[in-house]
């Protein structure tokens, strides 16, 4: 069984590393970069929404914080956007604390409502604040003054940068899964009251998970700003940004390490294709479709595709064992 696992991981790593070398051309390279970037955001969401079971539907606020700060730094001081990355993370974490502290001592719904309210609040404020570009937004360096501006012609460098960040995030998630932190988060998701009675400091752990999640989501936002060189309230803070993160994680498997990556791999190409088929009017249809998918996941398989495949495999195995037993029984008789 171990060997199978190792083979699986090696195959995945090779596939991810080698993808742009095999599928060349601007279209595939851009798509791949977008998949990995979305996977970062969705994996970050997964920490609080999947593992800890605290469903945020306003994660765009962290993404936006991460996207705006680097471009703001560039606008104010002409420096490399990279210098703004830590600021984006800091702002994201501060907002996370502002949301988490009052709501985590209450039941889960308050947290979810608060995330949507704060995300909207900040979107409106930013959209009306000239300092941050109001509805027009902010732009980054138009041409590269050096590698540190992170302005590349091809998507390939971005792809590998994003891949490194994703690898780090997943490694951290993996470590967390096996540590006390991970067990406590899953206990909180399963039954908060029982977790408390076993000494789990519920509010504190929820907050920690949210802070880490917010930090990485902000980082994803910063990477987005670096690649696209532009952000506005719509691309950085809108509800659809939050929706994307949630649906990718949920479709692949919330609370599973590779769920978000799986979801991103399916949905990003799908969304791109739907956009090109239906054009601008397709936006409505795409989200009707997304709504439908989310409904189906919620109703039939909240654990997403990974859980569904596990269930099917278990059933197949049980049936095989049953068949074997029948065959064996026939012999014995």
């Amino acid at each position: 069984m171990f060997r199978g696992r190792a083979i699986g991981w090696s195959a995945l790593t090779i596939a991810l590393l080698g993808f742009p070398l095999v599928f060349t051309g601007a279209y595939y390279e851009q798509l791949a970069a977008l998949v990995i970037l979305s996977a970062i955001a969705a994996s970050a969401w997964n920490l609080i929404g999947g593992y800890a079971g605290q469903v945020s539907v306003g994660h765009a606020v962290f993404f936006g914080a991460g996207a705006y700060m680097p471009l703001l730094f560039y606008k104010l001081w002409g420096v490399s956007p990279i210098l703004g990355f830590p600021a984006g993370i800091a702002v994201g974490v501060i907002i996370a604390v502002g949301i988490g502290v009052p709501t985590f001592r209450l039941s889960g719904h308050y947290f979810s409502m608060a995330t949507i309210a704060v995300a909207e609040l900040i979107r409106i404020l930013v959209g009306n604040w000239d300092f941050l570009g109001a509805s027009i937004g902010l732009m980054g360096p138009p041409t590269a003054r050096g590698w540190w501006d992170l302005v590349f012609r091809s998507s390939v460098p971005y792809y590998y940068i994003f891949l490194s960040v994703l690898a780090i995030l997943l490694a951290i998630t993996r470590w967390m899964e096996r540590s006390r932190f991970g067990y406590y988060l899953r206990a909180i998701r399963a039954n908060e009251r029982a977790a408390r009675s076993l000494g789990v400091p519920v509010s504190r752990y929820k907050l920690l998970a949210l802070m880490v999640s917010a930090g990485f989501t902000s980082l994803a936002g910063s990477l987005y700003a670096a690649k696209f060189g532009f952000v506005d309230p719509n691309s950085g803070l809108a509800i659809l940004v939050s929706v994307n993160m949630v649906i990718m994680a949920a479709l692949g498997g919330a609370g599973r390490l590779l769920g978000p990556l799986l979801g991103a791999t399916i949905l990003v190409p799908l969304q791109t294709t739907m956009n090109s088929i239906f054009g601008g009017g397709g936006t409505g249809l795409t989200y009707v479709f997304y709504g439908g998918i989310i409904l189906l996941i919620a109703r039939f398989e909240p654990g997403g595709l990974i859980q569904m495949s596990e269930r099917i495999r278990a059933r197949v195995r049980a049936r095989a064992a049953g068949a074997e037993a029948d065959a064996g029984g026939a012999h014995a008789a």
Binding site: P102, S112, A114, N128, G281, Y287, L295, A298
Partner: protein, 285 residues
């Protein structure tokens, strides 16, 4: 004088907020489910009003009643097909369920009706009039009064009728209610129907004076969240008071700081309430 007008206007719209929020808080109190798609129910009520008028020339009374009926049915359908199955599951499934519904309804409306907003003609309900120096718009006045009456009616329905007490019994203690021969499933479905109907009526009323578009649900849902949080989990009287307060605050902040920031004030208040008194004015803790 203007200030008085602003106050009255705020209370009137607040009554409408109270109406659609009372449905949301009833469902929340009963089943511990927050309907993220509640704003979309109101939006659909608005469109029912618009299309009933545009297609068959229905008047306010007719299209409001129609909205009530259609959204009542939608509420029950949503409960039976979706909510009923996710209540007993993980929180993720519950939140995803109504969130998915939000997307489905909002973007279906987007696709069907386009992003442009439409309006009902101005003089539909009647001309504005002057009451002792205060300019009142007839649609707003009608909306406010009807909403207030219906919210009170909902409260009376819940507390003084047989059906109402059965609903409250299920909300209080599902198992005990079952032992008394009440069917919780049926009561919960009815509660969803009531929530839908109150949202639909509110939407139809709002449609008489407010532009209709697929995205109105977004800000209306958030107002509903603020109202139910401020009013207290599960409390219809709480929602009534909170609705009026929110309407007032919104109106006053629009007057002093401009309409752009009125949302900011409402959401800001929400955050403050969460920090200070999350169980609201009258919620059961």
């Amino acid at each position: 004088m203007i200030l008085l007008q602003v106050i009255v206007g705020g209370l009137l719209i607040g009554a409408v907020y109270a109406l659609f929020s009372s449905g949301l808080t009833l469902v929340w109190g009963m089943m511990n489910v927050i309907n993220f798609a509640h704003g979309e129910f109101v939006m659909l009520g608005m469109y029912v009003a618009f299309w009933a008028f545009t297609l068959v020339g229905a008047g306010p009374l007719s299209f409001t009643a129609l909205a009530a009926i259609l959204l009542f049915i939608l509420g029950i359908v949503v409960y039976m097909a979706l909510i009923r199955h996710v209540i007993r599951g993980p929180m993720l499934a519950q939140i995803l369920a109504t969130f998915g519904l939000l997307l489905l309804l909002r973007y279906a409306a987007f696709w069907a009706f386009s992003a442009n907003f439409v309006t009902l003609p101005e003089g539909l309900v009647g001309p504005g009039f002057n009451l002792g120096g205060i300019l009142l718009s007839a649609p707003k006045l009608l909306a406010g009064i009807v909403a207030l009456a219906l919210t009170i009616g909902m409260h009376v329905l819940l507390t003084r009728t047989a059906v109402g007490s059965q609903i409250l019994a299920v909300a209080e203690d599902r198992d005990a209610a079952m032992l008394m021969g009440i069917r919780p499933d049926r009561m919960q479905a009815i509660a969803w129907g009531l929530a839908g109907a109150s949202a639909g009526i509110a939407g139809a009323l709002i449609a008489t004076f407010f532009p209709i578009s697929p995205t109105v649900g977004e800000s209306l849902a958030l107002i509903a969240f603020v109202v139910v949080t401020l009013g207290g989990f599960g409390s219809v009287p709480g929602a009534m008071i909170a609705g009026l307060v929110i309407g007032l605050i919104e109106s006053l902040s629009a007057y002093y700081f401009g309409p752009v920031y009125q949302d900011v004030f409402v959401y800001g208040l929400f955050v403050v309430v969460l920090w200070v008194r999350p169980h609201g004015l009258m919620g059961k803790a």
